[in-house]
Every structure is written in C-alpha cells, then in structure tokens.
C-alpha cells in the first residue's frame, strides 16, 4: 500500500456522513457609488488612487510623482514611447532594480480595495511584487462591490497564476507598528479610468 492509498483509505474510513453545501448566491451587494467606495477603502489600506479620463493624464501624474531617471517598465503599448516594455522572455531576476511598474488590472473590488490581475497582465509574475512602486490602471466600470461578484467575474480563469493585490506590502510584526513596504512595493497607486 502506498502512502497515498493509505491516507485516502484512512480519510474514507474516518469521514462522517455527507452534509450539504450552503447556497451562497444571496451574498450580493448591488451598490452604486462603487468608485467612491473603492477609493475610500483603498486609502484606508495605505494606497493612493486617482480618477483619470485618459492615458495622457496618467503619464502626467507619473512624471510628477515618480523618479523617471530610475527604471520604469510597463506592459502597456500606450506607454511604450516613454517607458521600457516588460518582456516575458528574460530572467525574472533581471527586474530586481525596477523602480516602478505600470500595469493593467482586470478589475477591482470596492469592499476591500484589491485589484485582480492574472499573469498575462503582469508581463512576468514577479513584476507587481519586485518593483519598489506599483501603478495599476483599472476601468471604472469594472469595479465590483464584493469578492462574490469578483469570483463570478473570474470564473474558472485561464491563467497559470493570478492574484488580488490590495495596497502596498505591509507588516506590523514589530510591536504592531504598521510599516508600509515589507518585501513588496513601498507604494501602490491605482488610476481609475473613467
């Protein structure tokens, strides 16, 4: 008997009589003012957000708020004239000096401030984690109220890796003092395109 067979046999012998799954379809929060709600929550978790009307406005805000003499990379062709385009063919370690990453998210979640993005939008999986600062663009109409609608939207998802990212990395391991910038980005900015 292999370990696998042994464990599975033991599970089968010990598990109790079947109980049903609950209906979770009622957990829906149809709500308006999602942009405002999102921005308010995102602020409380240490993020910065701006409502913008076009890509030019984002470019303007980036040049005003970030050190453009440092390495800035993006997955978006619209920024290709100003910044380096992220390649999926290079060693992920080569992004260790990345100051700012500008990427798109599929959508964001009003109740918790998180954006959802899969690896196709990251360029490389490491990008949103290794950069010192992260900028994410989200279309205003894609914001969902809660995680229930979020998972409905994601569905099975044809990705190798996907993640919710809700703010700059943080820790409170030393005496519960909140410090932004643990191992991931020191800051996160979301541009809400309206």
């Amino acid at each position: 008997m292999t370990t696998r067979e042994k464990i599975l046999a033991s599970v089968l012998a010990n598990q109790p009589a079947a109980t049903p799954l609950p209906d979770i379809s009622m957990f829906k929060n149809g709500s308006d003012a999602l942009v405002e709600k999102y921005m308010q929550v995102f602020k409380t978790i240490g993020g910065l957000s701006h409502v913008v009307t076009d890509i030019a406005a984002i470019k303007q805000l980036i040049t005003e708020n970030f050190d453009t003499s440092k390495r800035i990379a993006t997955t978006l062709a619209e920024f290709g004239d100003s910044f380096e385009l992220i390649s999926d063919a290079v060693d992920p370690h080569s992004y260790s000096d990345l100051e700012l990453a500008i990427i798109r998210a599929h959508f964001s979640v009003a109740e918790n401030g998180a954006v959802w993005l899969s690896d196709e939008l990251m360029g490389q999986r490491i990008i949103p984690y290794i950069c010192q600062h992260l900028a994410v663009i989200v279309d205003a109409e894609t914001i969902v109220p809660t995680l229930h609608e979020a998972y409905e939207k994601i569905g099975a998802g044809n990705y190798g890796f996907g993640g919710f990212i809700g703010g700059p990395s943080k820790t409170a391991d030393i005496e519960q003092a909140l410090v932004l910038g643990a191992h991931g980005p020191l800051s996160m900015t979301v541009f809400i395109l309206k």
């Binding site: 464990i7 012998a13 609950p22 998180a114 490491i126 984690y129 190798g160 890796f161 809700g166």
Partner: protein, 461 residues
C-alpha cells in the same frame, strides 16, 4: 529549535507573568487586534451569515474529503504540478529533502507555514546541510532568536522592539540601540531581498486549495511568498489535507472572513492563486496527513479541522493574552492549538485543554464557528478518562465527585469549608494549595444558599 518539552502550560505561564508590565502590554496589544476585528466585522451586515456559510462549507469538506482530495489531485496533475502524499512529519520532510537533493539545491527560502513548523522541517534540512530562511518578518525574527512562533499570524507578538533591535544588532549588524520599527523593517527588507534573489527553491504554505480547479491560494501582507515563488526554479507548497475547499466561488466567503477576523483588514494585501508552473519552473505540492485523519475520526473533535488559521481565538482569549503563546509549548498555541495538540500527543499536551476559563469567547469570534470551548471541555474528560491528567488534577476531581455524589456530603463539606475559611484562612491560603497561586480565596459566606433558602422559606410560612 528551543522548545519547552518538560514544562507544562502553568509553569511556563508562571514564568511569563513574572514581568507584569510585559503581560499588561501583551494583553493590550492582542486586545487591540480583537477590537480591530470587531470594527471590521460590524461593517459587513451579512457577517453572521458568512460565518454560517463558511462553517457549512467546511463541514461539507470534512464529510467529502476523500472525493475532494481525489479531484484536487487530478486537477493539480492536469495543471502540471507534481503531487506528493506524506503520512507523517518525517515523510513530509523526506519529500522536501529529496526534491531539493534532485536539483542539488542547498539553500531554500520559506514563507509562513505552520505545517512545516509542526514538522520541524528547518531542523531536518539543516541537519542534512540545507539552509532554510524564514522570510515572513515575524518568523525571521523568531528564527534568528532560535524560538518557535508564539502566534500563528503574529509570530513575535510577545517581543518588545528593543529586544528585536538587539537581535538585529547581533545578526544583521545594525547600530546598537536601534529599535525603530520602520528602520528595522527596512534593514530586514534589504537583507531578505538578497535572499529572494539568490535562492533557487521556495516553499510556501497553503491557505485554501480548490478541488474544482487544482489551484491553491496563499495569503500574505508582506509579499514574501510571491517574492520567493516567482524567482524560484523549484516551488514547493506544503498543506494539511483539511485545507481543500470544494469550489472556487467559496474563496469569496473565506477571503472575506479571513483577514477581517485575523487583523481587521478587509483582505490581506496579497491573495495569490497558484495554478501552473512558470515556463522552466517545477511546482510540487505535498499533501500531509500527520494525525489529521485520526482527528477526522474523533466525532467530538473533527470540527477542529475546519480552522482557517486566522488567530482570532488567540487574540480574544484571556488566558492566551496573559500567558503568551510560547507557554502552550505547541506550534499552534491558544484555544485552537489546545484542541488540536492532544490529538497529536495526548500525554505531552494533557495540560493544554485545562489552560482555559471555558468562557467561550473563542467560539464566538471563530469565522468558521468551531465550538472551541466545548471541545476544550470534552478533551478534559478524555484526558482524565485515559489517565493522562496530572495527579493533583485527578485527586481534586475525585474529591469533587465524592462531594457532589450526595446532597448530604455536599452540605457537610460546604459547611466545613466555610468554617475553615472563617477561622483558619491560612490553612487554605497557602502555597500548598495550587488553587491559591495568583489567587486570593474569597471570604467564606456565613451560610450556604441552601441554608439561606430554608431559613427564608420558613420565614414566609
């Protein structure tokens, strides 16, 4: 790693409470987190329904575990993940070692995983010449201090910043006396970034594993799991069997509850869904039993396997807050640790179910509604019945059983007790009575309720 194997909860707690100022601070720090949990929970009108749904989903998992494990395994394989099964901690450690050995890797970075703490993986690998570095800041601090984590979410919650500053001075060469949390975090960030960039293997724990899709979710605030995993050539995930959930949509329920219950955050900063290896990367997942199927077979205790490791039962527990996590001498401390540990080794952990006031606060905050305090009470009975309780406890209980066995004995002993407390309090308030430790006996009432009742009934008639 330093572990208190010989001392029980009471004596370890006894040592912790000697420093009254530290106890007050520790108590306050944890209560503050409990309050943050309350604020977060109250912002969700359907909070109680979410808890109920989460509890039902986990009950369903427990009752269909066999099927979900098979489904999860089959989907993992479709996704290109190598699946391993481990019956024991030892077998788990051997598997990790063999994966690393095959790639000639002798350094690994690890994100938070209570399971690998439980398995003593670091020690096992270190004995075989493989260096492991814990990358969660709190776990890193505990590792350089050669101590296990004292809390599952906040591993070094019992340490003062000055002590951490001293450790950094010794291990990372910071200036002596530096204790500012931001500056210390920056130093660790720089040091660990270099670790992430140079390690070929990364191991993570698993928060939720989805049977339906074969993906697993890892939640962190620091981003350490992702820094390790996405830079690694070999990615390993270790999980207990009970971490599997049926469908992806159920993540909505659990992720809404997890961080709010743990720290009062609306969601952890990172909720990463790992499904397939990157091009050129190997992904391994180890399914670990290590006593879980035994617990599954214990009717009164199987619900402990529903735990999603938020730590809210610790933050709210009056005993945990005042005795510190290390006094539980088990990887998982606090109320949930006290119902999980006796299953692993009843003799070694016989003291833990007694380290509770049975106030029930743990059950009230548990996001998956585990009846923790009922299980603590039930474990006490099992432990006494199976002969693992200490002699003083057994003797006390036998005396109590004798006293309560007839109304006459109860009345007589009660009268005698009151008489002793009145005329010879020093006979009871002394060091020989273990109950007197840290407690003052109350002044004995002049009469029992029974005596008062009889007197008053007579007056009426």
């Amino acid at each position: 790693m330093r572990e208190a194997t010989t001392k029980d909860h009471a004596s370890l707690a006894g040592a912790f409470i000697k420093d009254e100022k530290r106890v007050d601070w520790h108590d306050g720090a944890l209560w503050y987190i409990r309050e943050k949990r309350d604020i977060a929970a109250k912002q969700i009108p359907e909070w109680e329904h979410l808890r109920e749904a989460a509890s039902m989903i986990k009950s369903n998992v427990i009752s269909n575990l066999h099927e979900y494990l098979l489904q999860f395994e089959s989907n993992l394989k479709k996704n290109g993940v190598t699946v391993h099964w481990a019956d024991s901690a030892e077998e788990h450690n051997q598997i990790v070692y063999s994966i690393l050995k095959a790639k000639e890797i002798n350094q690994m970075v690890k994100s938070k995983s209570m399971l690998t703490e439980e398995c003593h993986l670091n020690e096992y690998l270190e004995e075989r010449g493989i260096e492991v570095i814990n990358s969660d800041l709190g776990e890193y601090i505990q590792q350089i201090d050669n101590e296990p984590p004292s809390h599952i979410v906040l591993p070094c919650i019992h340490k003062r910043k000055e002590e951490i500053g001293e450790l950094f001075h010794e291990h990372l060469g910071t200036e002596k006396g530096l204790s500012d949390p931001t500056l210390l975090t920056r130093v660790a960030r720089k040091h660990l970034r270099n670790i992430f960039l140079t390690r070929r293997a990364a191991l993570t724990g698993v928060n939720f594993a989805v049977a339906e899709t074969g993906e697993y979710v890892v939640c962190t605030n620091e981003g350490n799991a992702d820094m390790g995993a996405h830079l690694s050539e070999v990615q390993i995930a270790s999980m207990g069997l009970e971490k599997v959930i049926p469908q992806k949509k159920h993540l909505g329920v659990f992720l809404r509850l997890l961080a709010r219950s743990a720290t009062g955050q609306p969601i952890t900063i990172y909720s990463s869904h790992y499904k397939k290896p990157r091009k050129g990367q190997e992904m391994h997942l180890i399914l670990v039993d290590a006593g879980r199927t035994r617990q599954l077979g214990r009717k009164d205790f199987r619900d402990s396997l529903k735990c999603i490791k938020c730590g809210s039962c610790m933050n709210t527990c009056p005993v945990y807050r005042k005795s510190g996590g290390l006094s539980y001498h088990n990887t998982i401390s606090g109320p949930i640790g006290a119902i999980l540990a006796p299953n692993l080794d009843m003799k070694r952990h016989e003291d833990l179910p007694f380290a509770s006031t049975l106030c029930g606060s743990c059950s009230n905050v548990c996001p998956v509604k585990i009846n923790i305090h009922d299980q603590l009470y039930k474990w006490r009975q099992v432990i006494v019945k199976e002969g693992y309780a200490t002699k003083t406890k057994t003797l006390g209980m036998k005396t109590m059983a004798w006293t309560f066995s007839s109304p006459e004995k109860f009345k007589k002993t009660g009268r005698a007790g009151r008489w002793f407390l009145k005329y010879f309090p020093f006979l009871i308030n002394n060091k020989l009575n273990p109950w007197y430790k840290q407690r003052d006996m109350p002044e004995g009432p002049s009469e029992s309720f029974g005596e008062w009742f009889v007197k008053n009934e007579n007056k009426k008639s």
